[in-house]
């Protein structure tokens, strides 16, 4: 059990434990905060995988923006009666069964792939992942087209969200 494996197991426990709390907790604000803990664990996983840019962007985008959006939305749509009843549907055991079946299927599938227990080779010495990612995202024979399409998508989402959420002044 190397130190790296111990850190991975602890982080995995954080991610999965927080995810279980997200989907079971009754108070919706607590669920949003458990989501923050889970996303932070995912950022630590990215850092272990040596994708530093993605780790930092995960904290900035998910925790700094999306989680705060969730918290604002929870605060703006509260009604006292809604939180007294049960928060899960009556037949919650069907999704639980479905989830367990899916998990078993996926784990069996994963373990049957030959060579899936490989460990990672070291990164080549001169590789600066941030610089390589930057070049890949704007290089014409790499991924500039998805990059531009993503920016158009975000513009559309920005305009759409502002329009939908604007209060109609009748």
């Amino acid at each position: 059990m190397t130190a790296e494996q111990i850190i991975f197991l602890l982080t995995g426990a954080l991610v999965l434990g927080s995810a279980i709390m997200v989907v079971t907790v009754r108070n919706l604000l607590h669920a949003a905060l458990w989501l923050v803990a889970s996303l932070f664990g995912v950022a630590v996983l990215y850092a272990i995988l040596q994708a530093n840019f993605l780790a930092v962007v995960q904290v900035v985008v998910y925790i700094g923006a999306i989680a705060i959006l969730f918290i604002f939305a929870v605060m703006l749509t509260r009604r006292e009666l809604m939180e007294k009843g049960r928060q899960t549907r009556p037949n919650w055991w069907i999704p639980a069964l479905l989830g367990l079946l899916l998990l078993t299927g996926l784990v069996l599938l994963i373990l049957n792939i030959p060579g899936i227990n490989r460990t990672a080779a070291a990164l080549p010495v001169g590789l600066d992942t941030v610089q390589a990612l930057g070049t890949a995202l704007v290089s014409p024979d790499a991924y500039v087209l998805p990059f531009e399409v993503a920016s158009v998508l975000m513009l559309a989402a920005l305009v759409g969200a502002v329009y939908v959420a604007t209060v109609d002044k009748k």
Partner: protein, 103 residues
């Protein structure tokens, strides 16, 4: 790196199944969106793990993950705007009660 690739994939599969459970079993529309966020993160872990373990010099995995970040952010923004707008008219965010197209 001494962590086998299968560990990352199993973690991502478990997170995905938890998100799936969250989507199907919760009544509140915002809680359903929380489940969707968990599923998107599971997919991202998969992408980045494959990038690192199979071919770290080719940036396809990380670029894909960056696009997934952008799509998730856009989707959450529009989804929450819709939920807030529906709440203003119908005074409810329970997904079962939003079942009529008009009035």
């Amino acid at each position: 790196m001494s962590i086998p690739l299968s560990w990352y994939l199993i973690l991502a599969a478990a997170l995905f199944c938890l998100g799936l459970y969250g989507v199907f079993s919760r009544k509140n529309a915002i809680a359903i969106l929380l489940g969707i966020e968990l599923m998107l993160n599971a997919v991202n872990i998969n992408l980045v793990a494959f990038w690192r373990y199979l071919n770290p010099t080719q940036m396809a995995g990380q670029a894909f993950a960056v696009i997934v970040f952008a799509v998730a952010a856009a989707e959450v923004a529009v989804g929450l705007a819709l939920i807030i707008s529906v709440y203003r008219r119908r005074k409810t965010v329970v997904a079962d009660e939003i079942d009529l197209m008009r009035w």
